[in-house]
Subunit: 342 residues, 2 copies
DNA sequence: ATGAAAGCGCTAACAG
DNA sequence: CTGTTAGCGCTTTCAT
């Protein structure tokens, strides 16, 4: 069943059917109505691949994320999808599981599908896959890569001011030794954030101690491992910033298992503000990264690029705010009066 | 850049390029290699829409889910996507947020995109959208709808035996009054499950009391509301089965807030076994619904239908198993010696 | 206001 | 083994 069939039944040409479907104004109302009736009676649905072939555009945006089981992403996907649908776009979603090889193949599949644009939220960004998108003139927006180019925009998370808020909050509570459990080693994004942490610590007039800075993996297990190490230290930090909420939650679990009170003995601050933060016990203090704003920023960036295919990308920012809950509290007094802090 | 361009550079015809790309065996190795080199040098990526147009198939499966923020679904999506990728299929994902209107539009978009098959996991299944898929001969698999047709298979959750296990487990712990917080009213799936609960209760020789059966909404808020109602009862159940883990978690939260001990005063059992179950406190006893198996069953069903387009659908089952954690414990003794139980 | 027809890029049947 | 060509369904210019 194609437009010609509809045309035949309605006694018009396929061109007219096309015009009716696309709401062209140069069809006589009666004709349009007649065609419309046939379309409805036959349940006709046009074949999008013909349109895609003709235009080279598919009304589909690609969304690439590293790990869909991190609840931050579903919440983001939901916002992003809603925006796409209201703009008559479909979403082709793919997960990389942090594997560059998967990313490579994913991008290839998206090129084949002629996606109109790609939002690449995967942290393991090498430049190569990006180049293949640029080469094919597919607008691209990255998350927190802080680097733009022709056809490539970036939405960065303004974590620095958030981290400063977090550190200030802890300092006010009397904390002097603040640790950090970060992301996977070797990812630019992880390094940036450690730097942000260092800056925040130093600007607060505290001492940055690399001993207290541990890598993680953006998942619960990373937080658990980090916390185990921290709890084994002779002099341990009295508060910890985690690179995301899952990491923080992993850390809290280990603390609970080992009978270390939160926030009595260690305060913990997460990052993202996923729904889980209110559900875990104690509720997690965290830096909120607003999903809706982020999704909007991503879409807008792509939309702009799509309209100016030769334009240079733009850098935009999404800021974070501290949400204080119950996982942070006054610093404990040193158990060993030793530990000179500050 | 299309196959003809590649052909020109390599000094062959576009047909040969097509053959090389599709690994046809009737190209002389040297020719193939020459073409291959040109493809690589130019970073050529074929235009899938032409293939889709030609075949009427897009190598894309649709996946429709009600609520991506329910962690059960990301875990399922991840499994499903992995299976698709390893079968060279893409995934078009859409969320309905339990709104029939959204489902309708989603299905239309999928028809336009010429998806090869659809996995419809949204609970609010009316027959109408399904018919539009059947009408267009798109293989369809539903979840727990327990109804099949030409081109429509179903994967059901064998919750009855799981519920019996759950009820037996509670009975052994001394519980006699067992309540249930279900899904949204008016969905077939919700009603089926209530029936399953009733059967399980009665087969265990316990009394089914409709007072203790409350509706929810498959989300935390529904569990909270249900639990609030339950805690307000003069004689309350000593244990509760929830229709999914989120509901159970909502119920647990309300209990904690109101100072009702779990499992000391009320035992709670969830359904799904999302990762969260191990993270909440106390860890949630639940009926595990294995994602990997479910995703496999869904894919297999679609795969079979795709190969036998005129075949009748099949009914398959995924079973559940009880995972005992810390949210269930011995029944408390009646605070008011009144309440005649059993 | 409507129709005829070319062409988007790929594939497969057919010809050589 | 390789090339030629028709055609998948839609849009759009050009004619009428």
């Amino acid at each position: 069943m194609d437009m010609r069939d509809i045309a035949k039944i309605a006694g018009v040409s396929s061109a007219t059917v096309s015009r009716v479907i696309n709401g062209s104004s140069l069809v006589r109302p009666e004709t349009a109505e007649r065609v419309q009736r046939v379309i409805e009676k036959t349940n006709f649905v046009p074949n999008g691949s013909a349109t895609t072939l003709k235009y080279g555009r598919s009304s589909t945006f690609g969304l690439i994320i590293p790990d869909i089981t991190n609840p931050f992403f579903p919440e983001l996907i939901r916002c992003f999808e809603a925006i796409l649908v209201s703009n008559d776009q479909d979403m082709l979603m793919a997960t990389t599981d942090f594997q560059p090889a998967k990313l490579q193949r994913t991008i290839r599949r998206m090129l084949i599908r002629k996606v109109d644009a790609v939002a690449l939220l995967a942290a393991e960004i090498e430049t190569q896959p990006i180049e293949s998108l640029m080469h094919n003139r597919v607008p691209l927006v990255t998350l927190d890569r802080r680097s733009i180019a022709r056809g490539v925009s970036d939405v960065a998370v303004e974590y620095l001011s958030g981290m400063k808020q977090a550190v200030e909050h802890l300092k006010r509570l009397g904390h002097r030794r603040i640790g950090y459990i970060g992301g996977s080693l070797g990812l630019t994004i992880s390094e940036h954030r450690v730097e942000g942490f260092r800056t925040a610590i130093e600007e607060a007039g505290l001492k940055y101690d690399p001993k207290f800075v541990l890598p993680g993996n953006y998942r619960i297990s990373g937080g658990e491992a980090g916390m185990r190490e921290i709890l084994a230290m002779k002099t341990r930090p009295t508060a910890i910033l985690a690179t995301n909420d899952l990491t923080a939650i992993g850390a809290m679990r280990v603390a609970r298992v080992q009978g270390v009170g939160i926030p009595e003995e260690i305060s913990i601050i997460g990052f993202d503000d996923i729904e889980l933060c209110e559900i875990v016990y104690p509720a997690l203090t965290t830096l909120r990264l607003p999903r809706q704003e982020l999704a909007q920023a991503l879409f807008r960036a792509l939309d702009v690029l799509a309209k100016h295919p030769h334009g240079r990308g733009h850098q935009s920012m999404v800021s974070t705010t501290l949400v204080i809950r119950d996982s942070t509290g006054p610093a404990p007094r040193d158990r060993k009066p030793a530990g000179k802090s500050v």
